[in-house]
Amino acid sequence: MTNLLAARTQMALSLGFHIIFAEIGIAMPVLMVLAEWRWRRSGGLDDEYLQLAKRWAKGSAILFAVGAVSGTVLSFELGLLWPGFMQFAGPIVGMPFSLEGFAFFTEAIFLGVYLYAWGRISPTAHLAAGVIVAVSGAASAVFVVMVNAWMNSPTGLLMSGGRITHIDPIAGMLNPSTLQQALHMLLASYAATGLAVAGIHAAMLLRRRDAMFHRHALGLALLVGAPAAVLQPLSGDLSARTVAVWQPVKLAALEGQFDTEQGAPLRIGGWPDVAARQTKYALEIPHGLSLLAFHDWNAEVRGLMAFDPNDWPPVAPVHVGFQIMVALGTLMALVSLWAGWVALRGRRFAEHTALLRALAIVTPFGFIATEAGWTVTEVGRQPWVVQGILRTSDAVTPMPGLVVPMIVFALLYVGLSAIVGATIAGLVRETR
């Protein structure tokens, strides 16, 4: 394994691990606050809602802590693995990172208040602390995604002879991908977490239909997860159209489009055969890609062959990752629409066995889709760390033997995942 590949693997593992906890950290506070608010609105009578808020808070405390420490690792890994990137981009991306630092600070402070000050402060102050956690969690996600958006569509810098001559960090923050990516990430957090929580409680309801605790939980989780899951495909369309303009190579890779053509088809599934320069076994919808990417039936889509193969990302993982993300996202949206339909007809979720089963199946989909989507955006940008400006191979640390820390951190993350999984499963089992 080359040093570069080891560094990329370690970074991918660290981000892939952290992103799940980050998503949960963004969405769980919303669920806790909703449960506490319902409890207060019932005049403190509906004790199940209070229990629910406390249960969810307990789970969140664990997940938030793991998210916080894995996020710390990432902030250092920027320098441990990519000193070339940080030396180049630090003055530009430092700004959103600093703002993220403050948002995260606020989140950590008020999470401490929320978790440990039940009964110590006024009920309104407690609820307000929860709201602050939810808002600052979302804000820190937006700031972090700004950095990634800048790496995809770098603006706010002038260069001459490979060196930066002028920078404008604000313009860098407001780059053309920021809005789309931040929206996509936030919706992903609410959809993935909301539907995962809904799925867990749906599975519990399949065992015992009359448990009010789980009925309440399912209702609130769907309230957060379902609208986000329905909106996510629209936000995905917005993202894809930005990619089409700013990262045409990434678009070609994720669609498995080798030839430049007008009225390009949308490929569903398939395997890109890079040697043969074609995507095989895909279901092709004529004109689909031109229509989606450019909102024009006959728009020209540039294929991979229009670009230097040295600038191609690894095509297969990007294409397959994209297919997985879209497929799972679509299923999540459909199940959410179904749940909405059931609610509109005035039926109770708990009495709808088929819906409960579907929700239980969908439980992990959001997180898998997140990993797949993150693969698309990161691997799809290769061989660049900053699109078109800085190659990943020029950013990596000169320290040899990076495979060793990579294995150490991989073992650490595997171990932690197992323990977190077991702990959360234990918490869920207690509610039977």
Binding site: K54, R55, K58, A61, I62, A65, V66, A68, V69, T72, V73, F76, E77, L78, G79, L80, P83, G84, M86, Q87, F88, A89, G90, P91, I92, G94, M95, F97, S98, G101, F102, F104, F105, T106, A108, I109, F110, G112, V113, Y116, A117, W118, R120, I121, I167, D168, P169, T397, P398, M399, P400, G401, P405, L412, L416, I419, V420, T423, G426, L427
Partner: protein, 365 residues
Amino acid sequence: MGLIASIGMPEIVAGIMVLALNAYVLMGGADFGGGVWDLLALGPRREAQRALIASSIAPVWEANHVWLIVSVVMLFTAFPVAFSTLGIVLHIPISIMLIGIVLRGSAFVFRSYGAGVGPARRRWSLAFAGASILTPLTLGIIIGTIATGDVGSAAGEVGAESFARVFVWPWLAPFPIAVGCFALALFAFLAAVYLAVDAATAPNTPGHETVDDDSARTRAELADDFRRRALIMAALVFVAAAVALALSRAAAPRLSARVAGAPWSVALHVCTAIAAITAIVALWRRRYRAARLAAIVQVSCILWGWAFAQYPFIIPMTLTIRQASAPAVTLTLLLCGLAAGAVILIPSLRYLLRTFHGADDSMTS
């Protein structure tokens, strides 16, 4: 004075960075120190000691930990070259520190919320305590290595020299390790002093919510436990400081000379000495709040002593604060961001500390 005349935006940002690190040492450092005392919980009140440590740390450790992230983000925003140089040369100790940070945090929450009792709980306690020792030790080693000036010379030899000479020997040396032990001693000292205050002022000692008289006696005994520990640590801090200072003559001659002879250093030495003696006297007389204040001043003086000794270098002998500085526009924006952040942060932190000041754990299910 040359020092004041040469102050511009980069120096101000560097100063705020040291301030953030100072806050981390005082708050996050003490949380690590708490882990040390969890490991060394002894005597008849062993479980009460552990419960007090857990309840003191639980609501605040994540917020305290963010100070480290703030320091690092400031470093890579304002001094990107320094950050990448440290990332390259100190890859190994920084990675070890990160593993310590991950294990400490996760072991602590797993213990708090996971398996209630039995061997699993003891395992997490051990991981929590072990990581609480490892992290300050490596943090001290990192700071010690920076002070020697070996980071800069090693960075110049990347690729040309043998692996160990660039990536291992600079930090695996007597002086950095002595600084690591010094940091560990300081954090354990801070934690013992804070815990004595918490024990003395807690409305209810966790696990001992019995009759008031009884509870008051337990509290006083518990405070005494940590008073004793703080006094022992005060002595060990002195020993560790003496060892580090002695080793610094050979390992970090410039730093050593500055600490010994510069005009500001006399004032700082006097402050440190007064604070150290005050802390000991206050602990002796059970004036815990006064002891806490004195300990805070003492530890801060030591940290700033290091910062001033390095000045104007950010990585001694190769990179000054000026040379490492990002463009002015970045520094300006960073200062604006810090000011705006402080407006939100300071009242929030005060609220957090007020809410949990000397408080017990109210999270029950």
